[in-house]
């Protein structure tokens, strides 16, 4: 296990930055274009859906600025302490935001089932994400974070499977679950590659390429749906 996340491989910095920027823009567009819809309805499902992309956006914004900062720092010695401070802070924000994004993604498709039990306190989610980010930062290890996300991923698979069986006749619905599962799955894989396995440019490129493509497909789906029947 390397000491801390491997963010600073110069060979991959530009790929990382472009990847983060494309995903960031896609998330921002989804969040911004669904704003009117939420303002008109205050619908909880739309809120959780938007929050998913808000937090994914924050995650990728932090990734982007981290790489930007590390690429353009002038004197590494002068900036050493600042760089470590920024790295730790960014690591914390990234884990917190990505936990929130994946929680909201999972919650957005089954919140109705929990609503009848009056389980609507999202502060619990924020607390869980903060605790996971703190443990990961203090232990200098993403193990807790990755385990938590893997459990959520399993939960998403189960919910998707149950909902798929119920709505098998609706083709687009099951496609959407597949898209969610792929985005979530690739997010976990990309973290495993970045934090645990020494970064391989080729594997990284493939993972990033597919992830970017999935976010763009989701963005197109959202924009297309919002344009319809206007």
């Amino acid at each position: 296990m390397p000491p801390g996340p491997i963010f600073f491989n110069h060979y991959t910095i530009w790929i990382e930055m472009i990847y983060a920027l494309v995903v960031l823009v896609s998330c921002w567009l989804i969040y911004a274009r669904t704003r009117e819809m939420y303002e008109l309805t205050s619908h909880n499902g739309i809120k959780y859906f938007r929050n998913t992309f808000l937090f994914f956006g924050i995650t990728y914004a932090v990734r982007f600025f981290m790489h930007l900062f590390m690429t353009f720092r002038i004197n590494p010695r002068l900036f050493e302490h600042i760089a470590f401070g920024i790295r730790d802070f960014s690591f914390f924000i990234m884990i917190y935001a990505s936990c929130m994004a994946t929680i909201y993604l999972t919650y957005s498709i089954f919140w109705k089932k929990l609503e009848k039990y009056e389980f609507s306190n999202v502060y619990i989610f924020h607390m869980a994400a903060i605790i996971i980010a703190l443990i990961s930062l203090l232990r200098n290890s993403p193990g807790v974070f990755l385990s938590f996300q893997s459990v959520l991923f399993l939960l998403l698979i189960i919910i998707s499977f149950i909902n798929y069986r119920k709505t098998r006749h609706k083709g687009s619905f099951s496609q959407l679950y597949l898209l969610y599962l792929l985005i979530f799955g690739l997010w976990i894989i990309s973290n495993i590659i970045e934090f645990i396995i020494i970064f391989s440019t080729l594997i990284g490129l493939i993972i990033y390429g597919i992830s970017v493509l999935l976010f763009i497909i989701l963005l197109i789906k959202v924009l297309k749906k919002l344009k319809n029947k206007r």
């Binding site: 009117e36 957005s108 909902n163 319809n228 029947k229």
Partner: protein, 91 residues
């Protein structure tokens, strides 16, 4: 069996009734046509007023008329898209 209307659909129905009455209707016929109990109707009415979808104006006989605001018209215009979005994304 008649399917129970969701909140967004009830709001759409109320706003549509107002629009179909040339954007001006008294509370009693609105209550009758909205197919809601008095209690639920008043809850919806106060929520719609609070959120700025409708407003109350006085008519010539000092009674109250309900009319749609721009936000109310926007809701009617966007309802089908919103509903379709919610279904499509399983929200």
């Amino acid at each position: 069996m008649v399917k129970k209307r969701g909140k967004l659909e009830v709001i759409y129905d109320i706003l549509k009734i107002i629009m179909l009455h040339k954007n001006s209707i008294k509370t009693t016929p609105l209550l009758r046509q909205s197919n809601l109990s008095s209690e639920r109707f008043l809850q919806y009415l106060s929520e719609l007023l609070e959120k700025g979808f409708i407003r109350e104006i006085k008519d010539s006989s000092d009674g109250k008329l309900i009319t749609l605001t721009d936000k109310g018209f926007k809701y009617l215009e966007r309802y089908k898209t919103i509903n379709s979005f919610i279904n499509e994304f399983g929200l």
